[in-house]
Symmetry: C2
Subunit: 333 residues, 2 copies
């Protein structure tokens, strides 16, 4: 059997662009080893951390060489199984990669509930949602009376984080790039307000929108916005840092100014979502009912067809995505 | 009546040195206003934050002009009182300044227990002790099983913080400059170990001394040592920043690297001791019995006579003090 796959055409030395990738055909193994699953990918998740993996800058992960499989979380349907706990037709998530049909170790596959949706398992119910839940509820500990602000508010983590904070009783202010994203954040995600950081007076507008400044803040982009926010947060604010996308591709290392950290008595927490994988069910138990009731909106930015994955990834790297970046690999999904 | 006082001889533009000050005589008012106390200073506290006040860099405080009174916490004996709650002979603490005899508003004076010692009210029982207590117990929440490390371990805050952590069951490693300070930290303060940051291999020695790295760390000097420590702390470590003495006098602003903060899932807390003034009694209730039992050692670095305050302050600014920097202003104290 043959499948299409996307691989690197060359080593990545800067922010990855479409032409860094190539689509090609490869063989799918005829036989499965014990404990393996043959799966058809329905959706491939494109995430900012992949950009740092491709450059060998992600927490010790080796960069894939040109022609080697690319990392990517997928939601997929089991075609054949040599593992006792999985059957053809099961819906699973796991790191199948940038392929249409692939092999997955059953030990690394997770059976998911088809009734809760398909694509959502990569977004609100997947890693971005878990990141948002961990940041908002476990580290920033947001609740009623808080003013919560979040950067990249149109993105998967930011958009979910703000919705969670609002459902927990906080006033929620987003920061996003451009009027279209801000409209999405306000009108679809339901934030109380959203500030466009491309406006020259955005920091003043942000200060106004938050009243006396946010009491809690989540940053997953970089230090350009963070520095301005730190100068305006409330004394005693909780700051969660869960990624520095802007710094994954070179330039000087990201740094935090110490003076506001001390004079404003901040509490700054580093977040790595892997720490919370074992607690995913806690989040699902909250999120699935919220989704059913229409109170938590999954907003996805979907490209169709694996061949469009490189262009969609470039769009994500440029920050042009609105919501969770996904590729619908199987047209019937 | 006349008193000696120390004032600035010129505006301070760099780290203050002895020749920036002058000693002179001035009049003491013959009459007290209602609510004032005339006091004889027994000990004057010299603290790093004064260096930033003198340069106008301390949280909004105006720098004193040449000839104006200098700020300084003192322990003093009441000579005359026009306030109902204070009598001659009472021991008080308050900001009397760099003088032998001064006037203090009763509302800003605090009656202290002579039985608990005199100088200790400016050190272990004063602001440095309260800072150490707040950092160790309220922000880093150190307890049994922790490996606690602290910079400037021979200083008032660091030396007290390490002793508190050890009394709470932590293994405690100090960082200090030079063999004499390290001996003090080990032999008098009773730390488990102390590393001399002047040794070229100090960061490796520090890593060894802490085993797998500290689980909690308190920094009150600057980022030179902090950067090395952050590269070696345990995942999930709590970091308390309670001052950046090295950055009070110019140079580039202090910054923290974000990468270890995220990848090591750190919790960083800014500490301003004023937030804990209302809880001082909680600390005294613990500290005074510990001192009586000889388990908490106040170590003081005392100069004799107000005229020696400038040189002693320069010594503090150069980091040469060993323990709390004090001036014994009254030879009989």
């Amino acid at each position: 059997m043959k499948t299409m796959e996307v691989v690197l055409a060359r080593p990545i030395v800067d922010v990855p662009v479409t032409s860094d990738f190539q689509v090609r055909e490869r063989d799918v193994p005829d036989r499965l080893d014990d404990g393996q699953l043959l799966v058809r990918v329905l959706y491939l998740s494109l995430d900012p951390y992949i950009g740092s993996v491709l450059r060998g800058r992600h927490m010790g992960a080796r960069a894939p060489a040109p022609g080697e499989p690319l990392p990517g979380e997928c939601v997929a349907e089991v075609l054949r199984s040599s593992a006792p706990d999985f059957r053809p037709g099961d819906l699973v998530t796991g790191e199948v990669g940038w392929v249409e049909i692939g092999v997955l170790d059953a030990g690394k596959a997770r059976l998911v509930d088809r009734a809760a949706g398909v694509a959502a398992h990569l977004g609100v119910l997947g890693m971005p949602g878990l990141t948002a839940w961990a940041g908002v509820t476990q580290l920033a500990r947001v609740g009623a009376g808080d003013v919560f602000a979040v950067d990249a508010a149109a993105g998967a983590v930011g958009g979910t984080a703000g919705q969670i904070a609002r459902l927990l009783g906080a006033r929620v202010i987003g920061i996003a790039g451009g009027p279209a994203k801000c409209a999405l954040v306000r009108d679809v995600y339901g934030f109380d307000d959203c500030v466009d950081y491309r406006a020259p007076d955005w920091a003043d507008r942000f200060a106004q929108a938050t009243g006396d400044g946010p009491t809690a803040y989540l940053e997953n982009v970089g230090t350009a916005v963070l520095d301005q926010v730190l100068a305006r947060v409330r004394v005693g604010a909780r700051i969660v840092l869960c990624g520095m996308v802007d710094h994954y591709h070179g330039g000087p290392p990201a740094v935090l100014p110490v003076v506001p950290l001390i004079t404003r008595r901040l509490h700054v927490h580093g977040l790595v979502v892997y720490d919370f994988l074992a607690r995913r069910q806690e989040w699902l138990d909250i999120a699935i009912p919220w989704m059913r009731e229409g109170r938590l909106r999954p907003v996805e930015d979907v490209a169709d067809g694996l061949a469009n994955a490189p262009a969609h990834f470039e769009r994500l790297m440029r920050g042009h995505n609105q919501g969770k970046a996904l590729v619908r690999v199987d047209a019937g999904a």
